[in-house]
């Protein structure tokens, strides 16, 4: 099932790709990068510039993480488990 969040996470990168992340005190290894896209816009209100990564963590759950390029921070947005 899908769960939505908007929480900060710590992400480790390897050659530009996310290789692992730490969420709610637990560390997840990235097994596969499934997709990558960009969302940018809304300059008339908050402004938004995000780089999304859909990754499969070891164990089979799929996660959507995004890198907030304005604030230089990673967020966890969605989890399929």
């Amino acid at each position: 099932m899908t769960k939505r969040f908007d929480e900060e996470v710590r992400v480790e990168r390897d050659a530009g790709l996310p290789s692992a992340f730490e969420w709610r005190g637990r560390r997840y290894e990235v097994a596969d990068v499934i997709g990558k896209w960009r969302i940018e816009g809304r300059w008339w209100s908050d402004g938004r510039d995000r780089e999304y990564w859909r990754v499969e963590a070891r164990g089979g759950a799929v996660w959507d993480l995004y890198f907030d390029r304005q604030r230089d921070r990673w967020h966890m947005e969605r989890l399929w488990d």
Binding site: G35, K36, W37, R38, I39, E40, G41, R42, W43, W44, S45, Y52, R54
Partner: protein, 1079 residues
């Protein structure tokens, strides 16, 4: 190849309100990124094609031309299925491979625009397939099949695309795959590739380019919302990221790293598009000639016929000149153009419409002989080379002035007579300026209209780029109630729109004359008033090598037509302006007295001053006068030596005796371009075409040293004294930029003389024409004053006597007066006027009820008419008529109500005061017809110690004066520094007063200057030049407020506190405040 990429889906700002860059910017960026080639595929048009190709030639990028066409699907497509779940419009990109393809593209775009509603171009897939030859179709994610494929229905997509596949074949039916870096991009790419395989079509990689850099994406959002007229908000913006930019090849390659062949196919496709639009290759018009005759032979024959019709002496000079012109025309291939233009001018005259040729074309004898121009080029010694010569890099074209009121009729005639494929109007690209950009962006951002209006109004005509500087410098913007962040957004977007096309309008005068293949090189569409119009502006027309004819609507010609009709109506005389003598002494007396208000070209204050110094005595003097009255000659005081020599106070001098023939007519002073050409030719032995070439480069600082050296060398080698040669060069170089084309001045001098002649002999009829068509620089109220001063009575608006126009009418004491027309009554429509004329033709209006019943006039307009006194001849008085206009029952025709029932009991109302009468006239038709407005302020002006306009001349430089008057004009020219100077012209019934308001006093004066209609100004007198006078304002007051203050006995106090904004009074409607008024 492996590292390159070529963009094939690119929309510039010529996809109106979509692309966020100009074609020039696109090409510059493509060149900077090292792209060998780039496409331009604007939405439903080729508006940007010519400038795109031109920029490509400059930058060394190979252009690919195409367009994105809107395709409308029938309701049901592919059996019972709707396309992609909707039947919304879709788009395909078409690229021109070759000439045939481009012709097909132009035809398709023409059909898209002409077959449907204006502003809603579309085609059906079947139309595209029928024009497939020479074109490549790109079926991308925004095409109907693409939408189906992305929706997972590859079978339906393939079935739908079968028509394209069959018409275009495997190589030219192409599936365009995009990687827009969106969440579903991978799925989309997989679907599109499957669709391509199933269709057995080539697949290529593309990117939808709508901005050049990712950081420009916001401009595209704003444009999108402005196009759809929706607020800028997430729900209205289509894009989700900033990937639609001109990505450099490595980035495109890395997006498609898994299938590099997709990018390879893109390049192969681009390389197959070899169409070359061939800029500057001239396309002459067709002229159907009788069997076996060439256009050249026909033109020669018609010219010789003209020699007899114009009654010219067939001497050697004429023979030589005609031979020269005809052979130049033959050499350049222009005969058909001349013949076409001559036919058009003849047709215009047959329609009973004045036509006059202006500009350098008047320098051609052939133009005179074929009736194109009415200026005898031989008599006035005009140079043909100034109009046409093979060395010019611009195409010669003819400008024809016609009566402004008949311009549409002329257009219709030309477009009908010269057919769909041979003639069309030229478009004009209306671009965003600061005002329009601020208004539209402000609206899209949801900012309050009033505040945005204040911001927009403050920037009359400056570029959006200087918005910020303006905000800091303009006092009336202080205290604006908009958050800085909002203003900042507003400006950020608005300044990016500067120069982008806003909409495509009809050019006010251009008609392209082409051959039958016009529609194969430029798409046609319809203008707002239904004229056929090409998707190209006048610069594009030049680039595309088409010849055009400019038809300008000139109000003066309509005014003169009206005057002549009035003369015929009132006196029975039929005036033929072509036949009036050019040496009429009373006319020159009027001109010398500078009684020339309303006369063509010689009515401005500066011109009237010049006339007084120049004192013209013959037609040729008017040519000189018009040529001298230009900023350059006036500023450098070329006028003085000319006048000195002409009046014999100074002897004419010539740097060299050879110059005498060229300069004799102007006593050795270079006035005309023609003289520059002949001077260069006489001294250095250039032929006239070369000399004109030199002349046209005299303002090019880079070329000047070389031109000079060449001139001196040639002159000296011909035995000219080096000192004389240098002096001649200096004269030429100095005057060339000021000089005026004599042919142009000679053409202008004709209506100048004719209008002066009419004013001299038929002042009332002439002024009624001027009042009707309003051709000049002065507001009508000043012309009325001119009539009054000359003893022409002004007759008031009258519901039974006023015509639509201003007409002449004999008064009871036998004078010829001018009756105010109905046309300027505020709010009145043409239908209203027709119904009034029809109603009174039946029988006179009995009263207001009768008037309202038998006309279409609405109550507010009837009120305005009564207010202005149009019913004064009926009993009841103005206030009574107003009361009736508001209260009376107005049953329609056929109602069973007797007139007596409809008429309310009459009340006794006080009548209007003199001041109320004039205020009413100003309210209703903007003229103080009864008395000069200033006359009401006389006591106030006395108290203020005002200096009148006629007395200013006696004041000293720097003296402090108070002046007052009615505002007749204000101007705020853009100044490069961003500083703004306001120029105001006042009229105090003794003449005009020029006031200059510098930025340093605008904080306390700008409001009054812009909003008051009559004002007093305190300031210092400044003289400029010999006769120029202006008042440098220190303080300004609203005259109306001072008047009130004077009545209240506090005039002095009110002038001591000028900084407080004065209550705006000018909008008050007097009758609402009057006792007994029903308002």
């Amino acid at each position: 190849m492996a590292s390159s990429f070529i963009h094939l889906d690119v929309r510039s700002c010529f996809s109106l309100k979509e692309g966020a860059f100009t074609p020039e910017q696109l090409v510059a960026q493509a060149a900077a990124l090292g792209m060998p080639s780039v496409a331009l595929t604007d939405r439903d048009g080729l508006y940007g094609a010519a400038r795109f190709v031109s920029a490509c030639e400059r930058e060394g990028v190979r252009p690919i031309l195409g367009a994105s066409l809107t395709v409308r699907a029938p309701m049901r497509v592919g059996g019972d299925e709707r396309v992609g779940g909707t039947r919304a419009d879709a788009q395909v990109v078409l690229l021109a491979n070759d000439d045939t393809g481009y012709a097909n593209l132009c035809r398709l775009l023409t059909d898209a625009h002409l077959l449907g509603e204006r502003g809603d171009p579309w085609v059906a897939m079947e139309q595209i397939c029928a024009h497939a030859a020479g074109l490549t179709v790109l079926l991308g994610p925004r095409s109907h099949p693409g939408k189906l494929a992305i929706a997972g229905r590859v079978d339906a997509a393939t079935a739908l695309a079968a028509g394209y596949r069959e018409a275009f074949g495997r190589d030219r039916c192409v599936v365009a795959v995009e990687h827009r870096v969106e969440a579903r991009s991978y799925e989309e790419i997989r679907s599109m590739l499957r669709f391509g395989e199933r269709l057995d079509a080539t697949a290529v990689a593309t990117n939808p380019v709508r901005y050049l850099l990712p950081e420009d994406a916001f401009v595209a959002d704003a444009l999108e919302c402005m196009r759809r007229i929706v607020p800028i908000a997430s729900s209205n913006v289509t894009r989700t990221n900033a990937e639609g930019w001109l990505k450099p090849p490595p980035q495109m390659r890395s997006l498609f790293a898994e299938q590099p062949d997709l990018c390879d196919r893109t390049i192969e496709l681009a390389e197959r598009c070899t169409f070359d639009i061939g800029l500057k290759r001239i396309h002459f018009p067709d002229f159907p000639t009788p069997s076996g005759r060439s256009a050249d032979a026909l033109l020669a024959e018609r010219s010789w016929r003209g020699v007899h019709e114009r009654d010219l002496r067939t001497d050697e000079r004429l023979r030589e000149r005609l031979h020269l012109e005809l052979s130049m025309i033959r050499q350049m291939g222009y005969a058909a153009y001349f013949l076409t233009v001559a036919d058009i001018v003849a047709d215009i005259k047959t329609m009973g419409i004045f036509a006059a040729c202006r500009g350098s074309a008047a320098g051609s004898l052939v133009c005179y002989l074929t009736g194109i121009s009415d200026v005898d080029a031989l008599r006035h010694d005009l140079a043909f080379e100034r109009f046409m010569n093979p060395k010019r890099d611009e195409l010669p074209d003819v400008d024809i002035d016609v009566e402004s009121a008949r311009r549409e009729d002329v257009y219709d005639m030309i477009l009908t007579r010269h057919g769909h494929e041979r003639a069309a109007c030229v478009a004009m690209i209306d671009t965003y300026r600061a005002r329009s950009a601020v208004r539209e962006v402000g609206k899209a951002l949801g900012l309050p209209e009033v505040e945005v209006g204040v911001v927009a109004k403050a920037f009359p005509h400056i570029s959006a780029r200087s918005l910020r500087a303006g905000l800091e410098q303009l006092p009336e913007l202080q205290g604006l109630n908009l958050p800085m962040r909002q203003l900042d957004l507003l400006f950020r977007v608005a300044e990016r729109l500067d120069g982008f096309p806003r909409h495509i309008a009809l050019h006010p005068c251009g008609i392209v004359l082409a051959s039958h293949d016009l529609v194969e090189r430029v798409p046609l569409e319809r203008s707002a008033n239904g004229h056929r119009m090409i998707q190209a502006d006048k610069d594009d027309v030049e680039l595309l090598g088409y010849l055009k004819l400019d038809i300008l609507g000139v109000r003066m010609l309509s005014s003169m037509r009206h005057a002549i009709d009035e003369i015929a109506r009132t006196t029975g005389e039929k005036i033929d302006l072509d036949r009036i003598a050019l040496d009429d002494e009373p006319t020159f007396e009027l001109i010398r007295a500078s009684d020339t208000l309303g006369c063509f070209q010689i009515e401005s204050p500066g011109q009237r001053e010049l006339l007084q110094r120049l004192l013209p005595t013959r037609f040729e003097d008017l040519i000189v006068d018009i040529s001298l009255f230009r900023p350059g000659p006036v500023k450098s005081d070329m006028i003085r030596p000319y006048i000195q020599r002409r009046s014999g106070l100074e002897a004419p001098t010539y740097a060299h005796p050879d110059l005498r023939p060229a300069l004799q007519e102007t006593f050795g002073v270079i006035v005309y371009h023609e003289q520059v050409i002949r001077t260069l030719a006489a001294m250095a032995g250039y032929d006239l075409t070369d000399a004109d070439d030199v002349r046209r480069h005299l303002d090019d600082d880079a070329m000047l040293p070389q031109l000079r050296a060449d001139f001196l060398e040639r002159a000296i080698s011909r035995g000219v004294d080096p000192v004389a040669a240098e002096q001649t060069w200096d004269d030429v170089a100095q005057f060339a930029s000021f000089g005026f084309c004599k042919a142009h001045a000679a053409a202008f001098a004709v209506p100048t003389y004719r209008s002066s002649w009419l004013k001299t002999h038929y002042r009332a009829q002439f002024l009624s024409g001027i009042l009707t068509h309003d051709p000049g620089m002065y507001p009508r109220r000043l012309l009325l004053d001119d009539a009054r001063r000359a003893g022409v009575p002004i007759l008031p608006l009258d519901i039974h006597r006023s015509e639509p126009e201003y007409v002449t009418e004999e008064t009871t004491d036998g004078a010829l007066g001018i009756r105010i027309g109905l046309q300027d009554v505020h709010g009145i429509s043409a239908a209203d006027i027709r119904s009034i004329l029809a109603g009174r033709a039946e029988h006179a209006f009995r009263d207001m009820g009768d008037f309202l019943r038998r006309t279409t006039v609405s109550r507010p307009v009837a009120e305005a008419l009564a207010h202005a006194g149009a019913f004064d001849e009926l009993p009841g008085g103005r206030r009574g008529h107003l009361y009736e206009a508001i209260t009376v029952e107005a049953p329609r025709e056929g109602d069973q109500l007797t007139l007596a029932d409809a008429t309310p009991p009459r009340h006794a109302f006080p009548s209007y005061s003199d001041a109320e009468v004039v205020r009413a006239e100003l309210d209703v038709f903007g003229l103080d017809a009864t008395r000069h407005l200033v006359s009401f302020y006389e006591p106030l002006l006395r108290d203020l110690g005002v200096t009148r306009a006629r007395d200013l001349r006696r004041k000293r430089q720097g003296e402090w004066v108070t002046v007052a008057g009615v505002k007749i004009a204000s101007q705020t020219p853009a100044v490069r520094s961003g500083q703004r100077i306001i120029f105001v012209s006042l009229d105090d019934a003794t003449g005009p007063i020029e006031v200059t308001v510098f930025p340093s006093v605008q904080h306390k004066t700008a409001r009054t200057v812009f909003h008051a209609y009559a004002m007093a100004v305190w300031g210092q007198l400044r003289r400029s030049g010999r006769e120029g006078l202006s008042i440098i304002a220190e303080d300004v007051w609203d005259l109306l407020a001072l008047q009130e203050a004077r009545r209240a006995g506090c005039l002095r106090e009110s002038m001591e506190h000028p900084r407080q904004p004065m209550a705006p009074q000018s909008g008050r409607r007097l009758w609402h405040a009057s006792p007994g008024s029903a308002g």
